[in-house]
């Protein structure tokens, strides 16, 4: 028997597979395809302090082996999420991770505080890396000091473990990781999307209404693997890995690089059942490469 379980701060995972934030809504649509209790956990779409409409459309574009998105954090606001969405997900026996976003320090804290009210959320994923949101022109996700500050404040406010989601759009990912670890993060989540653009030849303008968007999908996997591999050597907190995962082999590559669990984003759009299919395939894949458990594989890319 291959052991798929993984214990992380606040999260007892029966397997290491979860849908990535923003690619799974609040689970309702995918619950029509499979029983969500099969998942290791679920990461909800970003919550902000108040309702947001987000960016104008078009919001997505296709690229080679990937896509760009600029949804712009559309969501009903944290209170509505707690009222209407969390109870639905709480029907399934899986840990719930709330993705926390904001444009200001105060908004992050407000959202984090709000989630203290519900028993059903098990951890926060602090989204400091949404490429479409900035304060004073600087992204929380690219300045180590700002990242540390928001981590600290959210840790103070929240009674939940906090996984800080890092942006790959930085010169020094290790510096960012160390800064938020020092600031008290319980874990890391990486990577968010890379900022990209597509210009539409017909209109001669950026295709996305927001001009830039976040690049995700298989195209970015080598960047995610590199960053996780580098960061893992410098931090002791666990990493939830993501970026281009669509097969059990991809999952193993992330585990070897140093991730303790993974999230699957864009691949859900190609195949709505990709998460349970990966979960089904994972034991055989681990066994094939000589592992008895998920834990066995974590970080093994350094040692061999």
């Amino acid at each position: 028997m291959i052991d798929l379980t993984m214990d992380l701060p606040g999260l007892n995972l029966k397997n290491p597979i979860m849908p990535a934030s923003g690619c799974f809504g609040f689970g309702r649509e995918y619950s029509e395809f499979y029983d969500l209790s099969r998942l290791g956990a679920v990461i909800m779409k970003a919550a902000t302090g108040d309702v947001r409409y987000g960016n104008n459309t078009p919001r997505v574009a296709e690229t080679s082996s990937g896509m760009l998105n600029a949804i712009g954090l559309q969501n009903p606001g944290v209170e509505k999420i707690i009222e209407n969405e969390v109870p639905f997900l709480a029907n399934y026996a899986i840990p719930i991770i709330a993705n926390v976003a904001g444009s200001t320090l105060e908004e992050y804290v407000k959202v984090a505080l709000a989630f203290n009210k519900t028993e059903s959320v098990n951890a926060l994923e602090l989204n400091i890396s949404c490429p479409n949101v900035k304060e004073g022109g600087i992204q929380f996700g690219t300045d180590p000091d700002m990242a540390a500050t928001v981590t600290e404040k959210v840790k103070e406010a929240s009674n939940l473990p906090v996984y800080v989601k890092l942006s790959p759009n930085v010169s020094d990912i290790v510096g960012m990781a160390k800064a938020v670890e020092k600031a008290g993060a319980d874990g890391l989540s990486m990577i968010n999307t890379l900022t990209g653009m597509q210009i539409h030849l017909e209109t001669k303008k950026p295709l996305l209404a927001n001009k830039t968007g976040g690049l995700s999908g298989q195209a970015i996997k080598p960047i995610a693997i590199r960053m996780i591999y580098e960061v893992k050597q410098h931090v002791t907190i666990p990493i939830i890995g993501m970026g281009g995962i669509s097969t059990a082999e991809d999952v193993l590559e992330f585990l070897l690089a140093g991730a303790s669990a993974v999230a699957v984003g864009t691949a859900n759009f190609q195949n709505p059942c990709v998460c349970p299919e990966i979960i089904d395939a994972l034991p055989r894949t681990l066994e094939q490469y000589g592992f008895q458990s998920v834990l066995d594989a974590v970080g093994k890319g350094y040692e061999a």
Binding site: C23, G25, E29, Y34, V60, T266, F269
Partner: protein, 250 residues
């Protein structure tokens, strides 16, 4: 539980310039499809699926027909699929056209590749004894398709932008030639829909919308359309693609 469908390509024909008619077979899809719904088709080698409307339903043979225009890489590739090959599809997706037996005369207004979803609708309306009038707009003569099929459903006016066939101009140019109707159904590019809804202000109608999609099932918020100026919205893939004219803001 919903599933991805494996659909088998039965026929592929180029019926007008760059316009492909493709017949697909799948029991579930053919049994459940409603006019106005779409299929979300996975084209090999592409990160995102392609939404394509259902143009015709043959419940006896379990066939669905789609019509699409060769535009970018995905539809060009799709046009190369051959009978016997399979296509992975999600759907039938979204909410189709709703009509009531109380309707007497219905006007269909289609532009270009927005015409296909109106065809099956027209057939069903006619079967219910509702009178059908169609106004179809194409770029030019070599783009015209399904004219005879619409003729069988009722009076059909064709316009082309360059005047190479039928009247010259836009569908809105000929709306005043149309007899009385109580509902209209329209599908086409957004500028056309804007013009149509403006021209037919006061009439009740339904429009079918397009938007670039991610998931195609309502999870990613790629395909929203505002319903008011206060942040209200609908998702085209799930709540649409068909909306009542006053439900959304174009």
């Amino acid at each position: 539980m919903k599933k991805q469908l494996e659909m088998v390509v039965e026929k592929v024909n180029e019926i007008a310039l760059d316009t492909i008619e493709m017949t697909l077979s799948n029991v579930h899809a053919a049994k459940t499809a409603q006019p106005g719904q779409f299929l979300h088709l996975q084209v090999e080698g592409h990160a995102l699926r392609r939404p394509i409307s259902i143009a015709d339903i043959d419940r006896e043979n379990n066939f669905l027909t789609v019509l699409f225009k060769k535009l970018g890489d995905g539809t060009k590739r799709l046009a190369m699929y051959r009978p016997g090959m399979t296509i992975d599809a999600l759907g039938p997706s979204g909410n189709g056209f709703s009509y009531e037996p109380s309707m007497k005369t219905v006007l269909l207004i289609g532009g270009g590749i927005g015409i296909p979803p109106l065809y099956n609708l027209g057939k069903q309306l006619k079967n219910k004894g509702i009178k059908v009038i169609a106004v179809l707009g194409y770029q030019s003569k070599e783009h015209v398709f399904y004219e005879e099929k619409f003729n069988e459903l009722g009076e059909t006016i064709v316009v082309t932008n360059d005047g190479s066939y039928g009247s010259r101009g836009f569908v809105t140019n000929v709306l005043d030639q149309v007899a009385d109707f109580d509902y209209y159904f329209s599908c086409g590019p957004v500028p056309m829909l804007k013009a149509v809804t403006k021209a037919l202000h006061g009439h009740q109608g339904y429009i079918s919308l397009e938007e670039r999609m991610g998931c195609g099932i309502g999870a990613c918020f790629a395909c929203v359309i505002p319903t008011d100026t206060e942040g209200g919205y609908r998702k085209i893939c799930k709540d649409g693609p068909v909306f009542a004219v006053n439900e959304v803001i174009l």
